[in-house]
């Protein structure tokens, strides 16, 4: 019976093998919107004695490490094509079926994580490995066959197939570490989270203590590097994708089952389980398999599979730390649910394994700590929330965060609230990709407020979130962070580093396709690249407001690209310094507004609205290009005017 799905799967494999790294053709057609951008860009560059061919970086300013992504290098060499990444992704998303949009993201994004140094690509292997799983399946049937047979067929198939794929993903994930000894793998497992986690107490430490801590973490990273380089990320992603795909296959069956208005009989004997409205509860070699009924249920422990048919449920799940390569799938079909985290690494979290969480209906609340809600650290984590006004709370690394794996949070409908402290809401770290995709609704994104930015300020917090990507300078190149909000009037709030920005050989992008949106941040935000990387904030339609203090709104610092691109609407841009088309330390900072009557306001004219500062005996490039509309300025610009600033090199054109 499974064959038709295998055929679909294989067809998908073929589709997935098409290279997705944006081609030159894609970048050539980047400006084919009829806006005349290419012409304006060429003119602007002539004003500062440059040509479009000058807007290039090198990908080898420092020695290329083993973690460098080919995609990042591609855009370093052709930074002006970076925007085509969003276009390519959006086209893939639009071209996908509804189920693929939710569950095939690891596959859609797999090629983005192609390493520059590794010749092999992220090819998805054939499914022959599934045959090796027979023994585990047989064991399941031997132990629980009688009970399983009593289940309605759609449920039975979902449970058994998900079980099979959990086993499969665990075996496959383990193989990703074949080149590492047990000690090496444990070292990485214990210490990579240490590098990512911050301590609120840091602000009270002495310089010596902090120096010692910094040295310790640097030493850890150095020690880990060779082990990390031996990790086969492709295998991890393949395994996670397989589990995600298996979940995808379950969904139509479950929907169909629900449509028949079933009344499943409980197969549990324990009174407590009956009271908890459980239909099935089995202990297996890979953890518990649980099916909950239409009433309210409470779930705890570390189940491998939960399928809940309805009711307002309460989850208090923890990860079983004794099980390495553990994977889990939770599917909740209806109800206003509350997900409490009992520790880290839960709810769509893959940590040396994979986690899938699907919640179809209801207004849900997710209360978590670290590494949760679409988090993939040496794993793949997928959280899909289909409908309802949802609230997501977390601390560090979540809500679409990935390193040595991928993390996705996909919310299809509703007015949602996302709140986290650090590395959240579309965050990509080394060899990883993190994406938050919100398809519709008026949403609110908040990142920061917990860990002080002790390097720079007394009263600001690091965010490093909301379409942000990060590398460990100078040892390990970074990943890809994506936040895509496809419609609705949204509010984004971050503090230091956020909203389409990046650090160290990485790509951070925030794309909001529609709606009247508000972006508030303090520094390194709203299309900002800092230190050899690419950061882009792209907003489609709507009357938007952008507020930041500095190094924002199209600012590239230190051989980096920062681009803010607003396609239409009457927008307002407010900043203090080094913003609105500002290049610093040989970076390129570009603000493009294609249409609408806009307002550009800065408090320091000397380094904004078309500004580039000198460094390394030459300069940087800052451009503010407003392609149409009646615009107002406080600063260097003026409506229907071309201007240059006494900097190296800054230019503005208002048409």
């Amino acid at each position: 019976m499974r064959d038709p799905f295998l055929v679909v799967f294989i067809l998908y494999l073929l589709l997935a093998s098409t290279p997705r790294v944006c081609s030159e053709e894609a970048s050539d057609s980047l400006y084919a919107s009829g806006s005349g951008f290419e012409e304006v860009l060429t003119d602007a560059l002539r004003c500062i004695k440059m040509t479009p061919g000058d807007l290039v970086f090198r990908d080898d300013y420092v020695d290329v490490d083993s973690f460098r992504l080919e995609l990042v290098d591609h855009f370093m060499r052709t930074p002006m094509a970076t925007k085509s990444f969003n276009r390519q992704w959006l086209s893939d998303w639009k071209g996908a079926t509804p189920e693929q949009r939710r569950f095939s993201l690891p596959r859609m994004c797999a090629d983005y994580l192609k390493m520059r140094r590794k010749e092999e690509t992220l090819k998805f292997e054939d499914t022959s490995v599934l045959r090796k799983l027979n023994s585990e399946n047989e064991r399941l049937l031997q132990e629980h066959g009688k009970v399983l047979k009593k289940l309605p067929e759609p449920l039975r198939r979902c449970v058994t197939e998900l079980f099979e794929d959990i086993v499969h993903s665990q075996i496959r994930t383990a193989r990703a570490f074949d080149q590492l000894s047990d000690e090496e793998r444990m070292f990485v497992r214990e210490n990579l989270p240490v590098i990512l986690l911050e301590d609120v107490e840091d602000e009270f430490k002495t310089p010596e203590e902090l120096e010692e801590l910094g040295d310790y973490e640097e030493q850890l990273a150095e020690e880990m590097m060779p082990y990390l380089a031996k990790t086969d990320v492709a295998k991890i992603i393949y395994a996670g994708d397989r589990l995600s795909f298996a979940t995808q296959l379950c969904m139509p069956r479950l929907r169909q089952y629900l449509a028949c208005q079933p009344e499943p009989k409980p197969l549990v004997k324990d009174k407590k389980d009956k009271a908890n409205d459980l239909i099935l509860r089995l202990q297996t070699s890979r953890g518990e398999l649980i099916i909950g009924g239409f009433g309210s249920s409470k779930y705890s422990g570390s189940p491998a599979i939960v399928i809940d048919l309805g009711g307002d449920d309460e989850y208090c799940i923890s990860v079983d730390s004794t099980k390495e390569f553990a994977s889990s799938v939770i599917i909740d079909l209806e109800g206003d649910d509350v997900y409490h985290a009992d520790g880290d690494f839960v709810y769509g979290s893959g940590f040396f394994g994979h986690g899938i969480l699907v919640d179809l209906l209801g207004d849900d609340t997710y209360l978590t700590n670290n590494f949760s809600l679409g988090s993939g650290l040496f794993g793949v984590g997928v959280l899909v929330d289909e409908q309802g006004n949802d609230k997501y709370f977390g601390d560090t690394f979540g809500q679409g965060a990935g390193s040595f794996g991928m993390g996705f949070l996909v919310d299809m409908e509703g007015a949602d609230q996302y709140s986290g402290a650090l590395f959240v809401q579309g965050f990509g770290f080394v060899s990883g990709l993190g994406a938050l995709i919100d398809s519709s609704g008026n949403d609110n994104y908040f990142a920061g407020g917990r860990y002080k930015d002790i390097l720079r300020y007394k009263d600001h917090y690091i965010s490093l979130s909301q379409g942000f990507a990060y590398g460990l300078r100078p040892m390990m190149s970074g990943g890809i962070g994506m936040l895509f909000d496809l419609s609705g009037n949204d509010v984004y709030t971050s503090d230091i580093f956020g909203q389409g920005s990046s650090y160290w050989f990485s790509l951070g992008t925030l794309m909001d396709a529609e709606g009247n949106d508000k972006y508030v941040s303090f520094q390194y935000a709203q299309g900002a690249g800092t230190h050899l990387c690419l950061g882009i904030l792209e907003d489609g339609s709507g009357d938007d407001v952008y507020i930041s203090h500095g190094v924002s709104q199209g600012c590239g610092h230190d051989l980096a690209l920062g681009m803010l691109w607003d396609k239409s609407g009457d927008d307002n841009y407010v900043a203090q310094s080094l913003s609105q088309g500002a290049g610093s330390a040989n970076g390129f900072g570009i603000l493009v507004d294609e249409g609408g009557d806009d307002g550009y306001y800065v408090s320091i004219k000397d380094n904004t609205q078309g500004y580039g500062n000198p460094r390394r005996d030459y300069g940087s490039v800052g451009m503010l290009l407003d392609l149409s509309g009646k615009d107002r300025y406080i600063g260097n610009g003026k409506d229907s005017t071309w201007w240059t600033t006494p900097s190296k090199w800054g230019v503005g054109i208002d048409r």
Binding site: C47, K49, E208, D617
Partner: protein, 310 residues
Amino acid sequence: MSRAKLFIICLFGVFLAESGYCGSLSEKDDLKKKVDSLFVLACGGLEKYRDQAQPAESMLVEMGEKAVPYLLEKLTTQSAREKWTLIRIFGKIGESAAIPVIGRLDSEDKDETKLAIRILGEIKDNRAVEPLIRFLNKEDYNIRSHACESLGKIGDTTAFNDVSSRMEDSVEVVRKSAAVALGNMKDVRGIPFLVRGLSDHHFSVRMSSANSLLEISEPAVKPLLFLLDHSAPPTLHLAIESLGRLKDKKTVPPLLEKLKDEDWATRAFAVEALAEIGDQRGILAIKKMKKVETHPFVMSKIDQCLEKKD
């Protein structure tokens, strides 16, 4: 242990104590600790302690030669902030640090070599010229680039031939550093290299070459004038800009011709150059032009220039 052995050990201990060796060890430890903790502050990595960065740096500079051995231990740092701090401190300590830093050029750690090269550029000691020239042909382009930069900062023209040959380097980062170095050397032999640099395909080399021609000054006028009729943008625009900045009145007539150019950018830069020179013929021509010019960029340049003159 035999009594004889014990006696010899005790005797050795007394000898160390008498010779002050133990004292000097702890003195060294203290000094190292002091340098280390001042260095942490000097790097100014934390907002809370930023006001202590400058005083700490000054103290390290004052310690001079004494601090050098401990600062040298830090040359392997990976931190950009620490690298800049070391460059500043060694630069201020000056000549007394030159030989120890030269000693680190041949380190097996490539990053240490790079940092030592950069520091020698700040120290500006001629003794570093010969050792630095050796690095102009290294495989790592950053090493070649830093060597060019530092040789330029030292400004000793004995390195001219080696540095000018780097204007042909395959990597634009090196060519840019070579162009800057030739400007620092202020040697007329650099003119042909720099004129060629104005046509480089990377803007950093073009811009640096233009700046370096200005350093060489008057001898650069003639070749730049030649470019007015024999080059295309952006080289032409850089030649116009450079002539303006050189303020040589004999360049006014050819620049006046450029006010009539079909290319709006050429007209705009000619306006800027003539205004920079300040000759009345140029100013009058710009005023006349204001009545007929329609291109927004040229108009903005005319307004800017006339505003300045008023």
